[in-house]
């Protein structure tokens, strides 16, 4: 969420006793002194960032139990330090009909009104005034002369805060820890992604080299077709040699002799002469897994096997 002070936005003084409002467009919010703790302190440090580290310890004695956020800025030689509960402010905003998404900026009454003089009425019961440099809210009967507080002409100050919506669940440091864990995981996953991509590219390159090394055709379809064709030749030639071997080792009966072996690229033909009973030969072949077509005529047995 980007928050920006813009003069064109309506300004709302957020106070527990205010009436509910109907907000149209974005608004600037000025927090009532009853919504924060403030201290004006002198510290032997040069920069605000050094003060910010000390803020929890500066307030630890006075704050009731809760989840606080802190803010500080330099005013002259002194520092204005603040403590506030994001949850309480957010709940009050919700109660008064102000959505966090419709808020352009949030600032403290202390930083906005410290330069004002006199007393200003907030409503019928409360008056805003400055005492010892600290902006405070007092009952209206304390001060007789007060003028209405005009927020529309307010020139927004630069000290704005951003409410931590989940501060009561998780501290800012917790967010940072989760952020670092996420970032660490992102780096790991990103690294793994790069390595995996490199591996895939390397394998693709290696695959291209196979084409050159084994003199393959440009497409795998062509190579598969060649492979299928050669495999058919291999299987047919293997069968041819195996079957011829079986026929040559076949135990024939007395008088039976192989007189012809022929092969015409598809069919292996064998002629055995002197055969009286073809059954024994056929059964012997079947035991070897060969199932030929047989023809017995005038003691001549013709066997045909399609390869």
């Amino acid at each position: 969420m980007f928050t920006k002070f813009k003069n064109s936005y309506k300004t709302i003084f957020l106070d527990p006793f205010m009436e509910s409002v109907q907000v149209e467009g974005k608004v600037n919010i000025v927090l009532s002194p009853s919504l924060y703790w403030v201290k004006k302190i002198s510290l032997p440090v040069k920069y605000v960032r050094e003060v910010k580290k000390l803020l929890p310890s500066l307030f630890e004695d006075i704050l009731p139990a809760g989840h606080y956020s802190y803010y500080a800025y330099k005013e002259g030689d002194e520092y204005m330090v603040f403590a506030y509960e994001d949850k309480i402010i957010l709940e009050l905003m919700a109660e008064k009909g102000i959505s966090p998404s419709g808020v352009a900026s949030i600032s403290f009454a202390q930083s906005e009104f410290s330069s004002l003089e006199g007393a200003y009425t907030i409503d019928d019961k409360q008056i805003l005034m400055i005492k010892d440099g600290i902006v405070i809210v007092v009952p209206s009967y304390w001060v007789k002369e007060a003028v209405p507080l005009l927020l529309d002409n307010l020139k927004p100050y630069k000290h704005t805060i951003v409410l931590q919506q989940f501060n009561h669940i998780l501290k800012k440091s917790g967010f940072y820890k989760i952020g670092f864990v996420l970032l660490f995981l992102i780096i790991i996953i990103f690294g793994e992604w790069l390595i995996t991509r490199n591996k895939a590219t390397h394998i693709a390159d290696q695959r291209s080299l196979i084409f050159t090394k084994y003199d393959l055709k440009p497409t795998m379809m062509q190579n598969r077709a060649i492979n299928t064709e050669l495999r058919k030749v291999y299987e047919k030639q293997t069968k041819l040699r195996e079957y011829i071997g079986i026929f040559l080792k076949l135990h024939l009966a007395k008088g039976e002799k192989i007189s012809y072996i022929g092969f015409d690229s598809k069919v292996l033909s064998v002629i055995i002469k002197g055969v009286t009973d073809s059954k024994k030969i056929v059964q012997a072949l079947q035991r070897k897994g060969i199932y030929p077509q047989t023809r017995l005529k005038n003691s001549v047995l013709t066997l045909e096997i399609t390869l």
Partner: protein, 135 residues
């Protein structure tokens, strides 16, 4: 002064993490496919290469069959051979059994692509032979 909400930063980091996880899953799948493709290509290449060496090596087969035919055992067999660019046609009449055994032994133990074969017994120790080898 613009300030970035840590929640949005966290959400952005979470989305970035999910994005890279998705990219990683895609890359892993791509790697798996590339590996499979590589294995299949290598298998096809090795298989085809071995089969080519065995059945589609014209020079080697031609040299081999001529070496077999020039063997002293076959010299007296009067072998006729006809060589073309795609095949060799061998025919022998009245080949004696010793030469036939030698020739068939060599022929069947080598990786020739035999497209035609005829062995016809003419008498007890003689046979006619016709073989066509394609390359």
């Amino acid at each position: 002064m613009n300030r970035l909400n840590p929640l949005y930063v966290g959400l952005f980091l979470l989305l970035l993490l999910v994005f890279f996880i998705m990219k990683l899953i895609d890359a892993k799948e791509e790697l798996h496919e590339e590996k499979n493709l590589y294995e299949k290509t290598l298998q096809t290449a090795l298989d085809t290469s071995a089969l080519k060496k065995a059945f589609a090596n014209k020079t080697k087969e031609k040299k081999e069959i001529l070496r077999i035919l020039s063997h002293p055992v076959l010299k007296s067999a009067n072998i006729k051979k006809e060589i073309t660019s795609t095949n060799i046609h061998i025919s022998v009449k009245n080949m004696d059994i010793k030469a036939l055994n030698y020739f068939m032994g060599k022929l069947l133990n080598a990786t020739f692509n035999i497209t035609m074969l005829q062995i016809k017994k003419t008498d007890e120790n003689k046979a006619t032979l016709e073989v066509k080898i394609k390359w």
